[in-house]
């Protein structure tokens, strides 16, 4: 019984949001505000169950000596973070923010270097003539490698803004725009695919879970 009731609730909310497609109306507004309000509360519940309780409270309970008392540092920083809500002490939250920003920056440098630049540039050093199987097969692979290398280089040139795009650089960056447009097109096609899939999911919910037509 509860299942049926809640399925109707879900269907009502789904249709309330879809009603926006006709025009903005109170049903949509209601559903939208419920969504925003409940997702905000969600973060609080998460913060408790996945952060404060296991990391701080249990950490304090189960650790001893140095490992226990060192937890005061992150606990204080965390409280500083919340000081943003108290105007006169708001400046303290900058300490906590500074810590997270510094960490993110430090982590970001090594990730970009080791995780992206080095392996990606390495993978671009492809042989421009590959001899594998028949002549036509080799030619196909070689052309693909050539296009890949060329495309990467000209795209990088397109984003090189330190010099005016004239002459050779101009030609390279014009070739770059061709690759960029093909890539944006492909990404756009994929984005359409993603959005449609979401609609398919909701339509399936309505006709399967709610109306039991299929």
């Amino acid at each position: 019984m509860a299942q049926v009731f809640w399925t109707w609730v879900a269907a009502f909310l789904t249709l309330a949001i879809f009603s926006f497609l006709y025009k903005d109306n109170p049903f949509y507004k209601f559903a939208e505000h419920i969504y925003v309000g409940s997702s905000a509360a969600f973060w609080f519940v998460y913060l408790w169950y996945f952060d404060i309780k296991p990391k701080l409270i249990d950490g304090w309970r189960y650790n001893t000596g140095f490992e226990k008392y060192i937890l005061i540092i992150p606990a204080v920083l965390s409280i500083f973070m919340l000081m943003r809500f108290i105007r006169p002490l708001a400046w303290l939250s900058r300490w906590a923010i500074a810590f997270t920003v510094g960490m993110a920056a430090g982590l970001g440098i090594t990730a970009a270097l080791q995780g992206y630049l080095v392996p990606q540039i390495q993978a671009t050093f492809l042989p421009l003539w590959v001899s594998k199987g028949s002549f036509w097969h080799s030619l196909g692979i070689s052309i693909n490698n050539f296009v890949l290398v060329l495309g990467t280089i000209v795209t990088i040139f397109y984003f090189y803004f330190s010099k005016e795009h004239k002459g050779t650089l101009g030609a390279l960056s014009r070739a770059g725009i061709v690759f960029i447009m093909v890539a944006f097109g492909a990404s756009f096609g994929y984005t359409v695919m993603a959005r449609i899939s979401l609609l398919i999911g909701r339509v399936y919910f309505l006709i399967h879970d709610w109306l039991h037509i299929v």
């Binding site: 996945f50 982590l107 990730a111 970009a112 999911g201």
Partner: protein
């Protein structure tokens, strides 16, 4: 020319209605169409398929309900594949709002295959801090997750006794709807050489092709199509596979929309 100009001024709600019907009708007539799985999905399938029984697969839930129709079917298909091959699963996630979707799927499929919690699968849950979590797990999983999701210390779970770092994890499968997949590659793969398969929404999947070519990932499952391919490969056709028919219908419709829209636009421009 009058008709064409009228076409250019069609009300958006008519377009919405046509779209809605195009999704609905293929479902009502239960049409399904065959497809050959994409090579990047087959690659992911083979990587998991060749793992010996007992290997540990880590699954990361980095999406939420906003992309559930695309990613959830992938998760089900991979879980079925893993459990049918007696692989062990560790699940965690970086998107808190999607975590319950992960648990629900894990509990469903575990039940289907008669798997036991703690012996065949474990749920670790969520910790904030993405990159920091990934790096510290490379040193010791327990330094991030002292206990599992239910509060049981990891050492009391039989399957976790010998699992400490990425060295003990055969493959990591990240299910993504944002940039967390890039973090997995840039921290877990780059620093600790973890083998990674990424599955995710069609919005983020195109950005991963560079990783696939550089072998930073060993498989890519993108969008509903990728999910449908994986369902096909594990011989368990479900939501994604049957969703591909309305998907195809709508893609054709959108291409027709673009062409018609341009005809209308050209007609109007010529008039001026």
């Amino acid at each position: 020319m009058k008709y064409i100009e009228k076409l250019a001024k069609i009300d958006r709600r008519i377009i919405y209605l046509i779209l809605f019907l195009t999704v609905l009708l293929p479902y009502l007539f239960k049409i399904s169409l065959p497809m050959k799985p994409l090579p990047e999905v087959v690659q992911a399938y083979r990587e998991i398929d060749r793992l010996p029984a007992g290997s540990v697969v880590m699954i990361s839930i980095d999406y939420d309900a906003a992309s559930m129709p695309e990613v959830q079917p992938m998760l089900y298909a991979i879980l079925r594949h893993c459990f049918s091959k007696d692989l062990k699963i560790i699940m965690l996630g970086h998107w808190p709002l999607g975590i319950p979707l992960g648990i629900a799927a894990l509990e469903d499929v575990a039940k289907e295959y008669g798997k036991k919690y703690g012996e065949d699968y474990v749920f670790l849950g969520y910790r904030p801090g993405v990159a920091a979590v990934m790096i510290n797990m490379g040193k010791e999983i327990r330094s991030v997750f002292r206990e599992d999701y239910w509060g049981t210390p990891l050492d009391s779970l039989p399957m976790m006794r010998n699992v400490h770092t990425y060295d003990d994890i055969a493959i990591l499968v990240g299910f993504e709807a944002g940039s967390t997949g890039d973090y997995w590659v840039q921290y877990a793969q780059a620093r600790y050489n973890q083998k990674i398969i990424l599955g995710g929404t069609a919005v983020v999947a195109p950005d991963w092709y560079p990783y696939l070519q550089s072998r930073q990932i060993v498989g890519l499952i993108g969008g509903l199509r990728g999910a449908a391919d994986y369902e096909n490969l594990v011989h368990h056709k479900a939501l994604a596979y049957y969703g591909m028919t309305p998907q195809a219908a709508v893609h054709i419709l959108i291409v027709i929309f673009i062409i018609l829209g341009n005809i209308g636009y050209l007609a109007l421009r010529r008039r001026k």
